[in-house]
């Protein structure tokens, strides 16, 4: 299956890309998706333990299962306001 990964702020700058497709085995978890992404973009690894994830605009934990066409957003710690 294929999901879309969105990267924001420092994660986008470090990876050099804002959005990319990611091929994953069926029923892969968010944790698997993140690990696959980190392997491809090692520059993101220093941030690994502080990245929050949202799938289709809902916050999820690493155990959440993904499905085809999902939008997975990787969010660094927020700093708005």
């Amino acid at each position: 299956m294929t999901i879309t990964v969105k990267l924001f702020a420092i994660l986008r700058d470090k990876a050099g890309v804002a959005e990319l497709p990611l091929e994953l085995p069926e029923r892969a978890t968010v944790a698997t998706a993140v690990e696959t992404l980190l392997a491809r973009h090692p520059s993101l690894r220093p941030f690994a333990n502080r990245i929050a994830c949202a799938v289709n605009l809902s916050r999820v934990t690493g155990e959440a299962e993904l499905k085809d066409q999902d939008e997975l957003a990787l969010l660094p710690p927020v700093s708005g306001g």
Binding site: K6, F8, A9, I10, D13, P46, F47, R50, A54, L57, A73, L75, P76, P77, V78, S79, G80, G81
Partner: protein, 144 residues
Amino acid sequence: MTDWLEILATPLPVARAIEFVSATTAGGIAIFLGTTRDDANEKGQPLAALDYEAYADLASRQLTELAHDARQRWPILKLAVLHRTGRVALGEPSVLIAVSTPHRAEAFEACRWLIDTLKADLAVWKKEIWSDGTGTWVDPHAHI
């Protein structure tokens, strides 16, 4: 519409937001403006501006939840929560909260809770732009 919730790329319409929350049933209006404070980096370079980036789809949904939660807790009459994206000059507001309630204590409490919760949760990121044009993403917790 009793709530005005928006992520917007233009200067915050402060006067219109205050007018929006005004009501003849209101005894008080509390407003908070978060403004860009002057600063300098470790090289002594002054801050030139802040760049704000939002995950707009998620942030919009979060603002709706935030307004809903605030209304569960306080008797809010009208509410405006606006966050700007893009470049914000020093001294200019990047975020606005305006709340009208029948009595003033509620307006203060709701306003304070809204900005505190927004700052902890909203999918918005801030980059400090220094006078030499370089930028630093703000890390709210630590320095990597």
